[in-house]
């Protein structure tokens, strides 16, 4: 029996789809059977991040309407035999799948897969409610910006109100150089505000843009810092105790000089 995780954030553009793609791919890389489910109906994008946009025949709305079988709509990944994508519909709207239908779909997928990762649309309206309705646990993605943290707080409250307690938190696109200069909220600041379990911290990494251009999740790239962070996140989801990466930046000549004189800020 599999577990359903919903990846959500409230605010748009913080990296939900990238997180979904990387967590799913990372879990498949570790030998699990994984289904990615794009619940962002009308604005589908998970297929693009996965590089599977040319293989779509049926979508989630076709499945819930009984116009095709679930098996027909699941797209097998290019690289991993145990990784599948159920794409969102692009022409319908966010109300095309009802909460009960989502629950039924997730239960069906749980029979066959170890993990089901649901990519939730931004916002707190019906699309959000539909996307979370089949989930066992939520993963909240935020960035070190006030607006993203505020929305994460709101979303965590709404998840709790919908019986999804103990959400995991991913802090995305952190820049340790800015944190060090006291120009960005730190990991601890965000944990103080949000009071949830930290699942991982993903550094701001231009390799994410490059891997998305290629349709290859960064988690498969050993040279990418963000990819490494996602690999750690998947290992934590699998129950391993993985220490958080050292993201501290090399502060160059002056930093070394300061440390030499015992004036470093640590």
């Amino acid at each position: 029996m599999g577990t359903v995780y919903v990846v959500t954030s409230g605010k748009g553009g913080v990296g939900k789809t990238t997180a979904t793609a990387n967590i799913g791919t990372g879990l498949a890389l570790a030998g699990n059977k994984v289904a990615l489910l794009d619940a962002d109906i009308g604005l589908r994008n998970l297929d693009v991040v996965m590089g599977l946009e040319n293989r779509i025949v049926y979508d989630i709305v076709d499945v819930v309407r009984g116009e095709c079988r679930l098996r027909q709509a699941l797209i097998k990944d290019k690289r991993f035999d145990s990784l599948f994508l159920l794409p969102a519909a692009q022409t319908k709207d966010k109300t095309a799948v009802k909460p009960e239908q989502m629950q039924k779909l997730c239960n069906e997928l749980k029979e066959e897969f170890d993990f089901i990762i649901v990519d939730c649309p931004a916002g707190i309206e019906q699309g959000f409610k539909n996307a979370i309705s089949g989930a066992d646990r939520a993963i909240v993605v935020t960035t070190p910006e006030m607006s993203a943290v505020r929305d994460a707080d709101r979303i965590i409250g709404l998840l709790e109100a919908n019986d999804l307690r103990d959400a995991y938190l991913i802090i995305n696109r952190i820049r340790m150089d800015m944190v060090k200069r006291n120009d960005m909220l730190s990991i601890d600041d965000m944990l103080d505000f949000l009071a949830v379990t930290l699942l991982g911290v993903v550094p701001d990494d231009e390799k994410i843009v490059i891997s998305t251009n290629r349709g290859e999740p960064a988690v498969t790239d050993d040279k990418s810092m963000a990819g490494k962070a996602y690999k750690n996140i998947t290992r934590r989801l699998l129950g391993e105790d993985v220490p958080f990466m050292d993201l501290s930046v090399d502060d160059g000549f002056f930093g070394k000089l300061k440390r030499l004189f015992g004036m470093g800020a640590k």
Partner: protein
């Protein structure tokens, strides 16, 4: 903060963000907005002024302990009201 930093940092933007965010989250979680707090403050000042001499400028009110779910803990209204002199009432 070291010697070198003294030249660079003049009040960090992170601390500004933290202060603003703290206020925003309290207001979001309790559904109490700044305007409402101003109204409450005015009424508190009015009520207390019947009994004591106070300077409205010195009065501070805020909400503490605001958590997301109402069943874990209750928010608290904290008022700090310095009194200049008590009025003689009922004599």
């Amino acid at each position: 903060m070291g010697f070198f930093n003294a030249f660079i940092s003049k009040g960090s933007s992170k601390d500004v963000a933290k202060d603003r965010l703290r206020t925003i989250l309290v207001h979001d979680r309790t559904n109490v907005y700044p305007q409402y707090m101003d109204m409450l403050k005015n009424d508190i000042v009015k009520a207390i002024s019947d009994y004591a001499e106070i300077d409205p400028q010195d009065v501070e009110i805020k909400i503490d302990n605001a958590s997301r779910s109402s069943n874990t803990s209750m928010p608290e209204l904290v008022a700090n009201v310095p009194i200049k002199r008590m009025k003689n009432i009922g004599k």
